[in-house]
Amino acid sequence: MTAALDEILEGKSICICAGSGGVGKTTTSAAIAAGMAAQGLSVCVLTIDPAKRLADSLGLKELGNEATRVDPALFEAQGVEMKGELWAMMLDAKATFDELVARQAPDEESRDRVLENRIYQQISSALAGSQEYMAMEKLFELHTEGRFDLLVLDTPPTRNALDFLEAPKRLTQFIEGKSLRVFMKPTGLAARVAGRGASVALSVFKRIVGFDLIADLAEFFNAFSGMVDGFQARAKRVNVLLSDPDTCFLVVCGPQGEPIDEAVYFHRKLVEANLPFGGVIVNKVHYPADELRAEVDDLPTALTDKLGDESLAQRVAANFSDYQALAERDARNIEHLANELRTAHVIRVPHLDEDVHDLAGLEQINRYLFATGEERIEMAAGRA
C-alpha cells in the first residue's frame, strides 16, 4: 500500500517537485512544505515561477529573494497546529546570478565588468535555462547555510524534462566557453592549433549574427575568465547535492493521458541521470465509486423514486455516469503510470470541489498527501 508523504520524506533535506506545467506543482510544493512544517520541521519552499502563484497560495503580498516566514497565525486560523516553521522564497533568477558573480569575482572591477556586459545581462535575465540554474544555485546556497531542516523546490514550468535537468550543465559550459575563447585571441598559439575549419566557422557566424555580438561575447568571456574555475567547482557540488540520498525528486502530474506520459518520460530521465526518485503525486484525480458500480444499472429509476422528479433524476444519473467515465480513465492511466514507474508510491489527490489557492485548500490537499493509501481511499469514499 502507498506510503504517506511524510514517510517518503523521512530524513530528507531536499525535496524537488518536478513535472510539466499546469499540473498543480506550485500548489503541491506549498502544501508539502506546509505539511512538513506543521509536523515540526523548519521548512523553506522556493518557487521560480514567474507568475507569483506561490505568493497567492500563501497569502503573501510579495516574495523576494530572501526567505519570508509565513505567519503562523494564518495556520491557526485554519485550525492547523503549526509545530515548526514555514518559510517561503520567490526566486529572483537575475539577483541570484548577480550575487553569485559577486561572490566568485576576484575583485570589484571584474565583478562590474561582468555585471555590465550585455551578454551577461541577457543570460542572467532572459535566457531560458538561467532560471533553472539559479534555482539549483539558491538551493545549494540555502542547503550549505543549514538554516532549514527541509527545502522544497518548485521547479519552473518547463515543457521538456531535459531542459530542467540539463540547464545547469549547459550554462556552465557556456560560461566556460572553452572552445570559443580559443578563437577570441586570433594571434595566440591556440588559433593556429585549431585549424582552418574553425576559423571559417567563426567568420561565417560573425557574418550571420553581426560583429557586435561576437565582440560582446569575447568581452564576456574575458570578463568571466577569472571566475570559470569557481563556477565549475560550484556546479560540481550542486550536482553532487542533487544526487545525494538525502535529496528526493517527486514527480507531479495530472490524471489525463498527456501529463501521465510526461511523468513517465520525466521519471525515465531522472533514473538515467541517477537522481533519487521518491514518488509520484497525481493531482485532481476522479476517484471511482468502485463498490457502487453493480447497482448503477437501475440508477435513473432509483433516483426517480427518491426524488419524484424524472428530469432531475435523469440529469443526476447522466452527471454520475460522466464522472464515472472520468474516474475509470484516471484509474487506467494511474495503473499504467504505476507499472511504468515500477513504484507503489503513487499518491492520488482527488479533484476537490473548489480550486485550491489558499491555506484552507492546502490543508485539504494535505489530508490526502499525508495519509496512507488506505486512509486516502476511505476519505475519498466518504465524499461519495
Binding site: P156, F205, D355
Partner: protein, 328 residues
Amino acid sequence: MRGYSDEGRLFLPAREIARNCPIPELLDKRLVIVTGKGGVGKTTVAVGLGLRAAAEGKRTIVCEVASQENASRIFDHAQVGFHEVEMEENLWSISIDPDESMREYVLLQLKVRAMRDMLFRSRIFNYLAAATPGLKELVTIGKIWELAQLDRKVKQGRKYDLVIVDAPATGHGIGFLQTPRTFASIARVGPIHSQAQTLDRFITDHENTGAAIVALPEEMPVNESAALEKDLRDEVGVSVDRVYLNGLYPERFNKAEAERLAGLAAEENGAVKAAARAAVSEHERARCQRAQLSRLRRRVEAPVKTLPFLFEPELGVEAARRLSRRLG
C-alpha cells in the same frame, strides 16, 4: 534589455501599436499566436482554430515549438517533426525544432555548399549556435515568419493563408516572443539585426498578427491570464484579440435542486448517495467556475469566449472539431 525604447525610431511604443491598429477577425490574420499557462488546452484551441479556418477554405498550418508533438497527438497521427504534414483538407501541422530551423536558416544564408558542410561539421559553430542566448528562439520565430510568407524562402514551399502558433507556456512565452526585439538591440549590425527587426515588426503588426489567450476557470489561471494580456501588450507589443475560457462545466442543477440533492446524499446509501453527492460536487464546481468567469471578464480587455468541459477520456480530433465551432 529595455534599452530598445531609447532607439525610438525602430519601435513604436507597444501601447500605441495596440491602440492604433484596427482589429480584423482573428482568422483573417496571417498569424495567430495561441498562448496561456501550461495544461489549459492551448494545443486543443490551436488545433480547433486550425480546423475552423480549414473548414472555411483557408490553407492553414498549426505550428508547435520546442519540438512538441501535441497537435499530431490530437490527430492520432505519427510524430510530424520538422515537416509540413497534411492532417486534413487545408490543414497542415509542423513541430519546429530549433536545430533544424538553424540549419535551414544557414542554408538560406549560405549558397556555397562546401562552406555549409564545413560549418555544420564544425564544433565551434554548433557551440556558438547552441550557446548564443536566444538564438534558438529567434530561429524558431524566423521559421514561423517564413511559413507565413506568401513568397516562401524554402524551395517549393506551400503557401498558407493562416499560420497558427501553439506558443510556449506563460512566463517562457513572453521571453520567447520578445526574442526578436532583444536580438535587434544586441546585434546592432549584420543580417541578424535586420532580420530580428523584421520578425519584431511581424509579431507586433496587429493588422496581420492576432493573439488568443487560453485560460481555465480557476483563481490562479484567471490572475495569470490578466497578467499575460498586460505583459503581451506592454512588453511585447502584441494585443490580445480573444480570451478563451476553457473547460467550463455545464450548469446541470439549480440551487434548489442542489440543496435537495445534498439532503438526499445525507439520507441515502449506495449508488443513490454517490450520484447525489456527485451532483452536489458538480453544482459547486460549476458555481465556482461562474464566479471565475465573471472575474476574468472584469480583468481582461479582450472579449472572453467560453468553451465547455468535454466529458471524454482523451480529447481527439472530433472533440477539437466540436470546440472549433464555438471558437468565433
